[in-house]
Amino acid sequence: MNSGETSSSQNGSNSSVPRDTSCPLTEEELDRYSRQMIVPGMGKEAQLRLLNAKVLIIGAGGLGCPAAQYLAGAGIGTIGLVDGDVVERSNLHRQVGHSTSRIGQPKVSSLMTHLKGLNPLPNYVAHECHITPLNAADLVAPYDLILDCTDNPATRYLISDVCVLLEKPLVSAASVQTSGQIIVLNCPPTPQGQLEGGPYPPCYRCCFKKPPPANAQLSCGEAGILGPVVGLMGVAQAGEAIKILASALHASPSKKGTPRHPVEPTLLLYSYSLTSFLSPFTFRALKMAPRKKNCFACGEGSQARLTLEGLKRGEPDYEFFCGGLGSGPGQGVLSAEERISPREFVETVQQHGKEEGKGKYVVLDTREKEHFSFGSIEGAVNVPFGKLLSKAAQMKRSGETPEVEDILPPEVKIEDSGGDENVPIYVVCRRGLDSQEAVEKLKEMGLDRGGKRKIVDIAGGMKAWKEQVDPSFPYL
């Protein structure tokens, strides 16, 4: 894989040479940018700052596409794009810089095609790779401002750390399901470890000291994302970037004579509910704390902990810090007799059940109801994992030993169990992780009646079901 290798597509002058600010705007620029240049506070000076600016957009997805689109439109001089993925069909509802005809193409080149159509004047730089501790500094160094449009915690911490080390302002946004967040970090950039004369702006670690455990991290692929939610956050990132660059808010305060801008770090939170017409809260602007004395990356003594050389040596270890890869919960927790493959389930349990009448077993599907709405195993009852856990907690508090009916939705009745009180329970989820935890939980609740009732995990979840039993199953 190429790591950090760049290809530059240039139009007009080489943008690494700063443009002469006394030089007038071209006829085309005057026309193209006229509507934004006459906005109060903009003017020629501000537009020239944009034309001289270099912005790196890391991630060409749901955040990066709208952000890049507005930055290109505004005439940012150099726009770098970092992404190692290719365009997939399931990206298109939100990643508006790609198109159906470009499925399978690298995201960076696809987005560049879109941006050039919008505005051919900026200098676009393609970095067709993922950002890693090895290439991060080289990628970030040439730019004035960085946009974090990525999709995982390890990368977020890495980008923030590099921005602290290289003193770059960072506009960070994130979004999943119906929530979005955006915050400007490290702006104006302040030397690492400097606290005297503060307050100074925070970095990502000042706000979020540690990542969620790996099993609680939601990705758009697994948890879902609404296009307008992530789109809004991406557009807001472009807005913050334009503001910072046009007003030179990122000028380092250490330079003598530069007026100090007050540090007012703010986290904008966007959240709404699809089911309530008048959601009680949508936007909230939260006042954040400044740089923290005990921050790992930018606090007191941080120069000894976090260095560019250390990054290349693998310190800190971002994957480990963020829970690593493939360290999902509950793997290998259950014994062999507590698990059954989907095929085996069909061949033994379902067949057997059909021969001797219904009601011989219960299938609990612990996926969210939206997933369940597309289909499940015949006769399965939907008890979302979160609901099951809170039910378990409730039972534990009250000290009751529940019956199967207690954990099922009230409208579900177990049909005649043929005199067998110990109807076995089969648990299935999406990929076979939650279901294992659910099996443990049900036993903890005493539903296995001291071993008299079988509680079994359908291994690999509905994903394995689709692979082994029903290829037409709408697995999402």
Binding site: A174, P280, M288, N294, K387, S390
Partner: protein, 99 residues
């Protein structure tokens, strides 16, 4: 439109992102006053497991301002004395990583 006013003697607790999915709620009213350092214990009691999966890495605001959570690591943190008052709006905000 803002969140409804909490009943007398209560504060509003708002749950965002995974805090909302874990509790199954957007918000609820809890009895006030409550020392900030007791907040996570109170929630863990109600929602088993929420501390490890949600609270420990979330940021907390009171009336739209960030507050340092007193943790076991820094027992004498200066904000240990913060008490959530009647009518306050407290929010649990987990980081979101996707995009």
């Amino acid at each position: 439109m803002s969140a409804p006013k909490p009943p007398k003697g209560h504060f509003n607790l708002l749950y965002f992102a995974s805090a909302s999915s874990h509790t199954g709620k957007d918000m609820e009213a809890l009895p006030a006053p409550l020392p900030l350092r007791k907040l996570f214990d109170t929630l863990e009691e109600r929602y088993q497991g929420i501390r490890a999966t949600v609270l420990d890495h979330s940021l907390v605001t009171i009336n739209l301002s960030y507050v340092d959570m007193p943790s076991s690591e820094d027992k004498d943190g200066e904000d240990n004395a913060v008490v959530i008052q009647e009518g306050d709006e407290v929010a649990i905000i987990p980081p979101v990583s996707s995009g």
